[in-house]
Symmetry: C2
Subunit: 326 residues, 2 copies
Amino acid sequence: MAVQTSFDPQAFRAALGTFTTGVTIITTQAEDGSPVGITANSFNSVSLNPPMVLWSLAKNARSLPVFSNGRHWNVHVLSTEQETLSGRFAKQGEDKFAEVELDTGISEAPLLQDCTARFQCRTAFQYEGGDHVIFVGEVLAFDHSDRAPLAFQSGQYALATRKPRSELRLATTPPPPECSYTEDLLGYLLGRGHYQMLHALRRLLKNQQLDEHAFFILSVLCIRDNLTIEELNTFVEYTGHVVSLASMRFLERQKLVAREVNGEQVRYVLTADGREASLQELALAKAVEEDISAKLGAGDAQALKVLLKRLIAASDPGLPDLWAAR
Amino acid sequence: MAVQTSFDPQAFRAALGTFTTGVTIITTQAEDGSPVGITANSFNSVSLNPPMVLWSLAKNARSLPVFSNGRHWNVHVLSTEQETLSGRFAKQGEDKFAEVELDTGISEAPLLQDCTARFQCRTAFQYEGGDHVIFVGEVLAFDHSDRAPLAFQSGQYALATRKPRSELRLATTPPPPECSYTEDLLGYLLGRGHYQMLHALRRLLKNQQLDEHAFFILSVLCIRDNLTIEELNTFVEYTGHVVSLASMRFLERQKLVAREVNGEQVRYVLTADGREASLQELALAKAVEEDISAKLGAGDAQALKVLLKRLIAASDPGLPDLWAAR
């Protein structure tokens, strides 16, 4: 950590950016009645009694005169689903409020919908802050919803995963310290998560007289039909379940796949029954996912997927794209 | 979203808390030379030129006179590894600086080590802010490291997962829209992540002449030795790999497990070779995890584990605690 005393603006910005923030849109009404809004992450709470919040605005911002002259403005803490709105209000030029539905607030300042929290404010103070003006507002009204809040860190949108107050343990007793195999092992957590998901499908698979291996083959064919055994294996073999002639014969006997022979090449396609079986599995997998997402909350469920995708990219042994155009 | 105009302080606090922040410790030196420090999340950037930051402090805080009279203070943006330090500086009473190593800064204000970013400031303004005082500081020096920053949301510490600018896709082509099986399916992501981890162990397992099923059995015995087949299955069966007499006979022939007969009950224990094989697998799993963690970054790797544990708890079919005391 070399201390920098010369002010490279980019380095300063990068250092400031490490402080995580939420994302807000702050709105007001211009004197001509037109709505004005900007994206800001310089928001913060100030006072509980009287209730006050603050944010700051660049002195060269086009909207500065409007906010300086206006008495009322609204702060909207954005949810993870409002990233597009955030992007729109961060830019200049276009009609930011086009097709944006508004609620009626206590002032004329536009009040956006579907936010995580909203604060309707009246300017209490405007303070000098270098190249910015600091607006301190008295909060006249507020509300908040259960929507997961959007975060921002080092120039990118982010999803914040709250940590439980005590170390999250799956079970009730701490593992013996001398045991180097702990449940904090990433491989264990991935395996347990995966098999618990599969476990939830097990009853359906049993009714379909299928095992995990058959389920994988049907899934691949459901996404990408008409494959040779060799091609199937490029998608399945890394799981350790190698697709063999016997695997396919079993599925043929079950009337879930059919073979198409072209000269010496044998390709497999799903039958109508096979597609139906696979879509039933998919529907159940989605239902299980919805149940888990509800328990985790939308923000955490989304964060988990982002992280799993990053893990998959980081450990990819070079698998072909199952969804690639052909 | 019912608008609240009456100010229930708890509801107001809850609404404010939805705005995600980083966590800072702000330090100064009292007139008697003693170090002073508090945890604050009311920090924010204000101005780039001149470089300025702000934070606010309750008027009834014991440290207010010191900060009001002092000219210099340092802001430390905390890393995910400084949660304990954050907790210590959030409380009153104890000697917060005991055994805390300090760097030499440009003022007498204490400069903490191992932070994500640090800003050494001189008070530029002190502003009225209801029950708080707003401190605006000119930044005289700053630095930042690669340490993942700690976040705070709704009263809990949090880990922020940055989202890639474009939707993160594993492969290069978007899936056909009519295909309902997408790679955004949680079950797919978990399975692919799990099997890619296993794939990285495959060469070792092959050298050991073991398959995934044998690997699971050895892992369980490494954590919890001396089990009957029935007991082994309480930990393994949910994976779909049922432990049978044949599974155990295979491991006996490989001289990795031994049986201990007590009347009619047969229990299995690892041999020295079995323990050695299992610990080799564990070492490789940890090496793979380290490689992935380095690619993901420490903060994201930690967030992934927190989320996987939450997923496991949310989808637990009631597995016994593998690490429970006996």
